[in-house]
Symmetry: C2
């Protein structure tokens, strides 16, 4: 593959001049610039980003570590991050942690070895020594979606509290009183927040708050189904099941269908986390939608701020309720 030196020889100039042309340095005469361009095309020259990065100590690359690319939430997040980064001239390397601290660490290590300019992490529950050290070293880190307590790292996340309050109000207005939540592990900031917000909202609306209506699983389909079964087997089952993420909602849906129950007549269903196919279900599923694209875009902006020495603070975005038909008469927004 042609090197800068080959281009220089071909154009009859020095490597410095070729480099200046590459970097659009204005102090090259137009005539020389054209000769260099000609030489480049003749040789099919493609600059070597590896060599450039070694010298400039910058890779124009960001690392993104997510929980699971198969989850539409993360897919959308990845896409937004990629789009925003690309517009700023950065490439994104995605690492799939598969919700395992060990895999997460693998990518933290690999991406730091590759000298990415910044690292966006959806952290697993644990604070691993590696992440702690990266933060301490001052590597440019940003947490997305989830937050780890007690770490001095800027974060960009969604606050669903208000939307959950709205949802509970929506349910009350539709006549529901016995409402249940199946959510994720309390050790994740997201699982904890959703549970707390729900409990609080139910209390504030003066609705029944039975401990057995608050179930905690692992954000996976199977646990959503199992917990729904438990709820529906109760002597007095809830009138509404609220899934803590799209997969738990899907599990609930399976269990409800398997029992031949109708939605929303026999039991209503709502989801935290909207996915593109919820509107196409029968009936369309009422969901709390997170501003995922915004989440990704803001995270990129925070890290770029940091890279350019601008002050970079944390960001909290609101989720919004999208009422559809799965809880009864939809469309009548608060």
């Amino acid at each position: 593959m042609a090197r800068i030196k080959d281009v220089a020889v071909r154009a009859g100039v020095s490597v410095a001049t070729v480099s200046r042309v590459l970097n659009a340095n204005p102090s090259v005469s137009e005539e020389t610039r054209n000769r260099v361009y000609a030489a480049m095309t003749e040789l099919n020259y493609v600059p070597n980003a590896v060599a450039r990065s070694l010298r400039t100590e910058a890779t124009r690359t960001l690392g993104l570590i997510i929980g699971d690319i198969l989850n539409p939430f993360f897919a959308e997040l990845a896409r937004a991050v990629e789009d925003t980064a690309r517009k700023a001239g950065y490439t994104v390397v995605i690492g799939n942690a598969d919700e395992r601290a060990e895999e997460q660490d693998h990518y933290v290590r690999t991406l730091i070895e590759q000298r990415v300019d910044g690292l966006l992490i959806c952290p697993t529950a644990e604070v691993t020594p590696l992440v702690e050290q990266a933060a301490a070293t001052g590597d440019p880190l940003v947490f997305i979606d989830r937050v780890l307590p007690g770490m001095d790292v800027p974060s960009v996340r969604v606050d669903g509290t208000a939307a959950i309050g709205e949802l509970v109000g929506h349910l009350k207005r539709l006549g529901h009183r016995r409402v249940a939540l199946i959510s994720g592990p309390l050790r994740l900031s997201t699982g904890r927040e959703r549970t707390d917000a729900f409990v609080k909202a139910v209390a504030e609306h003066g609705m029944e708050l039975r401990p057995e209506y608050i179930q905690s699983g692992d954000f996976q389909l199977a646990s959503g189904r199992a917990l729904s079964a438990r709820l529906l087997d109760l002597p007095e089952p809830p009138e509404v099941i609220f899934g803590g993420d799209n997969l738990m909602t899907l599990g609930a849906l399976d269990e409800i269908r398997a029992r031949g129950l109708r939605i929303p007549e026999d039991v209503a269903l709502a989801s935290f986390d909207d996915v593109p196919w919820f509107p196409h279900m029968n009936p369309p599923i009422t969901a709390i939608s997170q501003p995922v694209a915004e989440l990704g875009a803001r995270a990129v902006r925070v890290i770029l701020d940091r890279l350019h020495g601008r002050p970079a603070g944390s960001v909290v975005l609101p989720a919004v309720l999208v009422p559809r038909q799965s809880c009864g008469e939809g469309r009548n927004v608060s």
Copy 2:
């Protein structure tokens, strides 16, 4: 950030020795090796992959260019590629071409600049000069999913012909006679293949083949909905609509529901391309499932073969029919 030289000084050895330790070269005494390891941890040394790559001319990185990460098909593909590559010690950089030749070229260029060891591409319709040149230069390329005619590049793809034949048989057995297809653009190898296979199978089964039952759109939801509307408005509408990908099927579903028609009683529905939530629909959607994970894994293996000088041929994998309930009595597989 600590460099190899710092480690060398700290351990009282030369940089060569440190490098040997890094590369697990056996000709280093155990005692020295331990001293070096100690120095590394004391300094929080992280090797610089950029410098290593410059010297070794290998990045242990693969590029993957896909159509759209939001499409579950590509998400699963990306995940499989990443998994397989990671097990072989490679990192994957994903580029989202957004089905645009221009974006595709952007990533081809960027990834070649970054000197990825190999490039996996789901090509857009066009053969761009850049891709052509990359192929001619002998850059390690592999096409996934789609194929560009007349290029000497190994490909890994799915052949749905047999499964489509099976589906048509399945439909016939269930008593359907008037079957329609809404598929993608004929300029894509996938759109063309699915249409050809369907037409051929319908003919072979001696079922009605009306030209107006074969519609071609753009693999997007809106076009699926519009084409379905056109079909259902026909004086004699089809008994079955077969969507050419998951999005067109979803569009068809919307149109069918909007008209208050029942599936499968009023009109049956099937999809090429299975997605995780089809089994959870009401009724569960009969689909042709592509071995996506296998597709990704094989593509990685093909490119690694090529990188290691082993012969690398093209691969064709069969799709399989997954009968569910959306065409009538499910479960009775051929």
